[in-house]
Structures are given as C-alpha cells and as structure tokens.
Subunit: 431 residues, 2 copies
C-alpha cells in the first residue's frame, strides 16, 4: 500500500478580508511554509456566504462547502479555521463540532474565545487537539504566543494595551487635526476603519473581548468578560486632547488587567498616558501591548492590530505550530488549572477631570467640597478663559484616589447648577 505523503489539511470557514488573505498567504508562500512547518499545508475546503473574486484569492482545486457545519465532518481535514465571527451561532457550533470530531481549531474570533474559550479549551484537551487564537487579539502582533510561550515561566502583574485600531485612529485624528469626535468617526467610517454601527469599537466591547483573553493568558484564569469595567471614547473632545498634551500626556483607549492584592482588575477606558511612554507614540490604526513580568520586566509590542494580511499571518503561524506538533495549552495552563477570576478592587489612580462651568464666584469652592467629602485631593486645578456668557473649561488633576469615589464625585459635580455638562473623567496611567 502506497502511503500518502505527510501533509496538514485545512478547511476555512469565512472568506472575508482575513480569509482571502489567508488563502493568498498559504498559496503564495507554500514552499516556505512547507519547509518551515516540516510538511505542506493544504487547503482542502472552504465555506463562505459569498464567493470572493478571483482577484481576492484563487480557490482552484479547493472544495466549496455550502454549510459551515459540513466542514467539521470532513474526514480528510486536520485543522478547521473559523473566520466567521460572532460569539455564538454558527461560529460556536462549528468550533464545538470541529473539536469534538478531533480536529484542531484555529480562530480569529475574539468574541467567541472571550465568551466560550474555557469550554472550548476543555473540549480541545479532551479530544487531544489544539485550540489556537493568535489572530483574535491585536492581529499581526504575536501577543498570544508571547504570553503563552515566551513568558510561560514568568508571573505577570500587568497587561495593558491599545487594542482597538478604530479608536486609536479616531483619537489620533482628533488630536492631529483638532477634529470633533463626530467628525473623526465619520472620517474613520469613510476610510473603512469603522463600521456603520461603530458601537462595538468606540464603546469598548471589542477591546473588552481582547482584554479578557489576554487576562486569561497572563494570569492563568478563565476568561471573564463580565468583570471588565468598560467605558468608551464618545465623551472625549479635542479640548481634552489638548489639555492632556499640555500636561505632558496623550489620550488612548486602554484595556488594562492588573494583579491587585484582592484579585485581578480589568478595565477598558480612555486614559492619559505620559508622552514619553512607549505607548504614547503608537498612533493611527496601530495596536500595542505592554506586559510586565517579574523576571522579564516591561515589554512593549507594537504593530498592525487588524487588516486581512497581518491577521492572516497570525492564523498561518497557528496552523504551522500545529503542523510542527505544538501541544501547548490554549490558555497557557491546562483548562483544569484555570482559576475563576476573582475581580480585584480598582487600584487608586490619579485622575484627570474636565468640567465645563459658568464663570461665577463659588464654583471652585463647591467642587472642592465635593472632592473633600469623597476624600479626594487636588493635584492641580486650572480654569481656562473667562466668559460671562459661555461655560469655560476647568481642568482638575487629582492625587491617587479611589475610582468609585471619583465617579461619585463626578456625578455630584455634574448636578451643580454652575456645571453645564457631565465631567469628562479619565485615569492617568503610569505606563
């Protein structure tokens, strides 16, 4: 009996930008990939809502399967690549059945992994196959590999990153061109960086999904989306970016997980970071991740966090790892060792707060009283401009104070008759 030459067979569900780029990469770099992976990697079947054009990718010789559920059942497929998206529905169904059928699963689906990653990791281990998701966080940046393998022997105390290119693009445009949030968002939509419904990006859930995955990898816990405190960037104005700059800071939407004495704190929200921080210069649609480990110290990774080709490269790397016999655990540790996340109390932070006030005697006294009642102390208070007619901005920075106290203070301040809009509140991260 003639033995078939060794090769790894792949089926791909979803042929959008990432799927099409993946087909291109696996075909254009086939020789390189075969040499480095130790065996050829061959696409056997694909499945998508619509056929991509010939220009997007060449599907000749590849089976077209109508129903994604069919991919998990193909006897001659070793690896199923899920690029459909969505936390549940068809993606979850495919992931479950692929793993149950003893096929490795590679996915770029952050929502799926953040929500069902623990269940899928258990299923993968039970069936002796890999669950890999490098592409689910920060596209081309190999942060999953870095945490899962590079820092596997270290204890991490902080992971923080600019994980959403859309928000970073909007904030960059607002700062550089003095655009309003609405104008910068419209521009991002025009450029194809933001969806028609931009909520998933600008209100933070996309960042929260990615953060939940990084937290699980870094701290050895089950992904826990529900304990992420999430805030978006809608309330930021060009004024805030200018004042931040005057203070020596930049505004970024950060996702941060840190070990605190009580547990692990996960937050997503706009933050001020020092302009000398390696994260401050990360502009446009770029992503970056900062990691601090007990042995390795601080590390920063910067690169393209989205787009077909960088994301496809991450998928390709996962598939090649499988071809070389990689047998790591999905979340660094075996699923049975992943602890439930014990949410930490928010650490005291310094805060930036912009108020819009009517320029009348007594305003500062009222604000000062509210702050004092919440045991918060001023680091600085600057009123900009004078006007009897319009409100003027007052910029407050605080010494390290409790997050909940700070939020309560902001709410009370908002109710003052001299304050004309809800304060813009952001923590100042020392990163």
């Amino acid at each position: 009996m003639k033995r078939e030459p060794k090769m790894l067979s792949v089926a791909i569900a979803g042929l959008g930008t990432v799927g099409a780029a993946l087909v291109r990469q696996l075909r254009q770099h086939a020789d390189l990939i075969a040499s480095r992976a130790g065996q050829p990697i061959v696409i056997k079947a694909v499945c998508a809502l619509a056929k991509p054009s010939r220009r997007q990718c060449d599907l000749s010789g590849i089976r077209w399967i109508a129903d994604p559920r069919g991919l998990a059942a193909l006897a001659d497929v070793d690896v199923v690549v899920e690029l459909m998206g969505g936390a549940d529905g068809a993606a979850l169904q495919l992931a479950r059945s692929a793993l149950a059928n003893g096929k490795h699963l590679v996915t770029a689906n952050k929502a799926l992994i953040a929500k069902h990653g623990y269940e899928l990791a258990k299923l993968a281990e039970k069936n002796g196959v890999q669950l890999s998701f490098e592409a689910a966080v920060a596209g081309g940046i190999p942060v999953v590999k870095t945490l899962r393998e590079g820092f596997a022997g270290d204890k991490i105390d902080k992971v923080s990153g600019i994980l959403n290119g859309t928000c970073n693009y909007i904030l960059t445009r607002m700062r550089e061109e003095k655009l309003s949030f609405a104008a910068a968002l419209a521009d991002a939509q025009k450029q194809g960086y933001a969806e028609a419904d931009p909520a998933a990006d600008i209100d933070g859930p996309d960042t929260a999904n990615k953060l939940a995955i990084l937290t699980a990898l870094a701290f050895g816990v089950k992904p826990d989306l529900s304990s992420v405190r999430v805030e978006g960037i809608r309330r930021i104005t060009p004024l805030d970016l200018r004042f931040a700059e005057e203070l020596g800071y930049r505004v970024k939407l950060l996702g941060t997980a840190r070990q605190t004495p009580q547990g692990i704190e996960q937050t997503v929200g706009p933050s001020l970071i020092p302009e000398l921080s390696p994260l401050a210069g990360v502009s446009g649609t770029l992503n970056c991740i900062f990691i601090n480990g007990r042995f390795v110290g601080p590390i920063t990774l910067v690169g393209r966090g989205a787009g077909g080709e960088p994301t496809a490269n991450a998928v390709t790397a996962d598939i090649m790892d499988i071809a070389r016999g990689e047998r790591g655990f999905a979340f660094s540790s075996p699923a049975s060792r992943l602890r439930p996340l014990k949410a930490g109390k928010t650490q005291p932070m310094r805060y930036y707060m912009r108020l819009q006030v009517q320029d009348r005697p007594g305003v500062v006294a009222d604000i000062g009283k509210i702050m004092r009642d919440e045991s918060l102390s001023f680091e600085s208070l600057i009123q900009r401009g004078r006007s009897q007619m319009k409100s003027v901005p007052v910029i407050v920075t605080t010494h390290a104070g409790d997050a909940d106290a700070m939020k309560r203070a902001a709410k009370k301040i908002a109710k003052l008759s001299t304050v004309t809009e809800f304060p813009c509140l952001m923590p100042m991260e020392d990163i």
Copy 2:
C-alpha cells in the same frame, strides 16, 4: 517496575548573573512551570567557575560538576543549558558533545550561535534534539520565537534593532546630559553596564553577532558574521546628537539586515532615525527590534535586552518549549534548506556628515567638488558659528547616495587642509 514520573531534567553550565537568575526562576516558579510545561522541570546538575552565594541562588539538592564537559555525559539529563559564553573553547565543546549525546541544547551565547550556529543546527537535527537560543538576542524580548514561529509563514524584508544596551545607555546619557563619549562610557562602566574593556559593545561586534542570528532566522540563510559591515560609536560627539535633534532625528547604534535585489545587506553602525520612529523613544539600556514582513507589516518589540532575570526568562521559555515537545528548526528552516548568505550591495541611503573646518573662504567649494566627483548631492549644508581661531562644525545632509562613494568622499574631505578632523558620517534610516 515502578515508572518514574515524567519530568524534564536540566543541567546548567555557567552560574553568573543569568545562571543564578535561571536557578531562581526554575525553583521559585516551579509549580507554574510544571503546570504550563506539562511536566516538572528539574535542575539535576550545575557547573561553574565559582559557587554563587546562597543569596544569589539556592543549589541545595543539585549536583555540582567540576568540568563542564561532564555535563554532556550525564545519563539522567535531557537538556544542557550553556551560559558560559565565548564563541569557541569550552562552550563550543560542550554544545557539540551535548547535541551529539542526544541532549537538547539551550544557550544564551550569541557569539557561539553567530559563528557555529549552522554546524550546531545540523548536529541537533541529526540527533533529533532541539537547539534553542532565545536568550542569545535581546535578552527578554522574544524575538527569536517571533521570527521562528510567529512570522514563519511570512517573507521578511527588513530586521533592524537597537541590540546593545550599553551603547544605547551611552548615547542616551550623551544626549540627555550633554556628556562626552568618554564621560558617558566611564559612567556606564561605573553602573556596571559596560565592561572594563568595552570594545565588544562600543565597537559593534556584540551587535553584529546578534544581527547575524536575526538575519539567519528572518531570511533563511546560514548565519554569516563575516559579511556584516561594522562600525562603532566612538566617533560620536554630543554635538552630533544635538544636530541630529535639530534635524528631527535621534542617534542610535542600529544593527540592520535588509533584502536587496542583489542579496542581503547587513550593517551595524550609528544611524540617524526620525524622532517619531517607534525606535527613537527607546532609551537607556532598553533594546528593541523592528521587523517588516510582507503580510504582517511592521512590528516593533521593546524590552530589556540584558540582565540576569530577563535573559533567564528567555532560557526558561526555551526549556518549557522543549518540555511541551516543541520540534521547530533552530533557524526556522531545516539546516539543509539554509542558503549561504549572498551579501547585498549597500542600498543608497541619505547621509549625515559633520565636518570640523577652519572658517576660510573656499572650504565649501572644495567639499562641493569632492561630493560632485562622487556623484553625491547635498540636501543641506549648515555652518555653525564663526571663528578665525578654532574649527567650526559644518553639518551636511545628502540625498540618497552610494555608501562606498560616501566613504570615499569622507576620506578625501578629511585630507583637505581646512578640515581639522575625520568627518563623522552616519546614514539616515527611514524606520
């Protein structure tokens, strides 16, 4: 017969800062490591010139072997960790015999890998064991893994980095404190960042070793130290750092490998990089690496490039990969597929040149003639200050020109009677 529980046994040669930190990490994080690696990692034997103090690391229960050659012969050892250093001698002997005896080899020895990496990779493959050297380049930054696994399916066209913390510290101090090179070097020596004989750092060979390894990983070629063009930082003055800054640049010692139409160009030398580059903000002893791939695009990794703990973490990651059954090739591709490096012609670059001239009529005409004769064209020429007595600096920046022509021009200019010292010449990198 009772079967011994599965574990991975390690022997360590060399207990300096890195070796001692490695013992600490493997012992302090033993549970974490066992869980993530799938089996305990146990130090069976060590060997060093001198016993570290109890404070540095706890060696209780570990065999002490007098001769490093003995480590390669221990029947109960799976992995030999070489931390002795040196391109040849005892390190090479140990590496060869460990691999020949079927033991995995993990090393932090850049000189060994740059010089003998190809031979050792072949030997490892022949014996079915791993050769791993994450710690040999940029300490805690997982750049070997990133190139070998993360970007294994991509075609890289450029790798460039700040790979020597000593030089980066000296250049940072010179810029920030306006120190002379000699004063900054003395400070680096006092801080323990530079050796008594600093040549390996400041004249570039250390960077060249690391670059040769990165080049092999990125481009699929045998490491080729001999084709690296190397220049150090001795000739840089605080004046150059100031002029660079006025031009919107920073001066960094870069190691750069790039694909050119003729072959692969490898250079080490001080370079001007734009102040907005992600590399420009990398100061002090930090290292960083920039990689550009066809699919993944540009990626920058920043972190601690030296020091016991970051480097130990890289060694630990390599050992854990072996424990998990990692079976990748030392230089991404099988040794049989590594091509000999075809050295590229240096790409045309823009140049910065500082001249010290006597302020007499005709100086610029003389310089202009030399440049014209070498087909080099000025982008700018600025004379700073006027003095009949002392020489004054003239700063020239050029349009993209040939490196050899530029060097010839500098030599001719140095011979002009009005020029008082050898010109300081640096390429301007668009990175």
